[in-house]
């Protein structure tokens, strides 16, 4: 096999695993959210951030758009179709802009994660305000903190796993 073919096979496998994980996580977020009164962090964002950190801004935005559409469409779905897609796309673009050559430092990844969480939750809050639906600022802040923590904890591992998956073929 040539290098290009190797790379293509690795990218295909990464795409498949990532797509399946996205759907499972989006459904899981809905399923768990319906069962518990606790506030949950956003489960999909770490995947988007990790993918964007590896793939760059365009790939990141594409990934975010796709992930957002899954979140939009998982029943019961968003109040307005496409809002989550656009918000996640912005997150992917932002995280992709933070791509660094080689292994990114843990601190940098954490900073990108916090930024993306802020964009995601802030975007959600703005959409809620524009749509005139109820919005609890305290809950939003708690979810932001939880999501940022989750990003900081999981994104480095996800980045490493993705790089390994890509290299092993």
């Amino acid at each position: 096999m040539t290098t290009t073919a190797h790379l293509a096979a690795g990218a295909g496998r990464v795409r498949l695993v990532r797509g399946a994980a996205l759907v499972v996580l989006a459904v899981l977020a809905v399923a768990v959210g319906a069962r518990t009164p606790l506030l949950l962090p956003d489960l999909v964002l770490p995947l988007v951030v990790a993918g964007a950190l590896v793939g760059g801004p365009t790939r990141g935005a594409l990934l975010g758009l796709g992930a957002g559409w899954v979140v939009d469409l998982v029943p019961p779905g968003s109040a307005l179709l496409g809002t989550a897609a656009l918000t996640y796309a912005v997150c992917g673009l932002l995280a992709g802009a933070g791509r660094r050559e080689g292994l990114a430092s843990w601190r940098w990844v954490a900073v990108v994660g916090v930024l993306c969480s802020t964009v995601l939750l802030g975007g959600g809050a703005i959409v809620a305000l524009l749509a005139g639906s109820a919005l609890s600022p305290a809950d939003t802040v708690v979810r932001l903190v939880l999501t940022a923590l989750l990003c900081a904890l999981t994104v480095p591992a996800l980045v490493r796993a993705e790089q390994q998956l890509r290299a092993r073929s």
Binding site: P75, L81, G82, A85
Partner: protein, 285 residues
């Protein structure tokens, strides 16, 4: 001299990046189109949601096992719902019993009904309600509607299974009445007459000067063939007599017997025409 060959990777790179950028732009535009369509209430977005539901519901089913019938939470909710239903039925039954004992329905046939819709509120509260009995139940236009407290209004429109009732206090509903010690007059909305009444009150305009006083009970005078009003239905009580000496006939404020904002079980009276002629009486003085 060998031509500098471009490696396939460097040739493919900008092409692929270009393609994904174009793809991103297209998808972003498509997303915005869908967003605007959903915002505008276009019909297609419902189909998108349905399709997503068809695909993703099985995944949800895998990740979220169905709640069992014997789950304590489910049982508790079920019991609470059943208790609420029983309580509501008991309230309705009690209201119906009160209606059966009310003087308005004594010895009279009536069609029981419940208020199922309230119309737009006028200046003095709601002016029309819909009840769940209609022409198939024997309800006709211009029948009197009562509840346990007195006269509610009259039927103004009928459909097979529902009817619309104009409430006492509506702008264009006037009732001929007898008040206190036989003072005849008419009762209309509180906005009629020379003086506006307090909110929620009606105006009684006597036909001639009489002795009206605070606390007099106002009842219907009765109409031809009992349509719309049978005699003796309670309309309200006199709360305030307008003592203007310059007025030819002093008007009075009447508090309605029925609170039209809390209507539930009502009865539509069925008038029965007289069939037996009245025998003349002889004084024995």
């Amino acid at each position: 001299m060998p031509r500098p060959r471009r490696s396939p990777r460097t040739a493919a790179r900008p092409l692929r990046s270009d393609r994904s950028r174009r793809l991103l732009t297209t998808l972003l535009l498509a997303t915005i189109v869908v967003l605007v369509a959903d915002l505008a209430g276009a019909p297609g977005t419902g189909a998108v949601r349905t399709a997503a539901g068809v695909v993703l519901r099985p995944v949800e089913g895998l990740l979220r096992p169905e709640v069992g019938r014997d789950d304590p939470g489910v049982r508790g909710t079920r019991a609470a719902t059943a208790a609420d239903t029983v309580a509501a039925q008991a309230t309705e039954a009690a209201a119906f019993q009160r209606l059966l004992r009310a003087p308005e329905t004594r010895g009279r046939a009536f069609v029981p009904a419940r208020v199922v819709a309230v119309g737009r509120a006028g200046s003095a509260g709601p002016e029309r309600v819909t009840i769940d009995a209609g022409s198939r139940d024997g309800v006709r236009i211009d029948r009197a509607v009562v509840n346990a407290d007195g006269l509610v209004g009259r039927v103004v429109a009928v459909s097979p299974w529902t009817a619309d009732v104009q409430l006492v206090g509506a702008a264009d509903l006037t009732i001929s009445v007898r008040a206190g010690a036989g003072v005849l007059g008419s009762v209309g909305s509180g906005a009629t007459g020379p003086r506006r009444q307090a909110p929620g009150e009606l105006t009684l305009t006597p036909v001639q000067r009489g002795t009206l006083s605070h606390g007099d009970v106002v009842t219907t005078l009765g109409s031809l063939d009992g349509t719309p009003y049978l005699p003796g239905l309670r309309v309200g009580t006199v709360t305030e007599v307008d003592g203007d000496p310059a007025a030819l006939v002093p008007t009075a404020g009447v508090r309605p017997a029925v609170d039209v904002t809390t209507l539930d079980v009502v009865g539509v009276l069925v008038p029965e025409g007289r069939t037996v002629p009245r025998a003349p009486s002889t004084g024995g003085g």
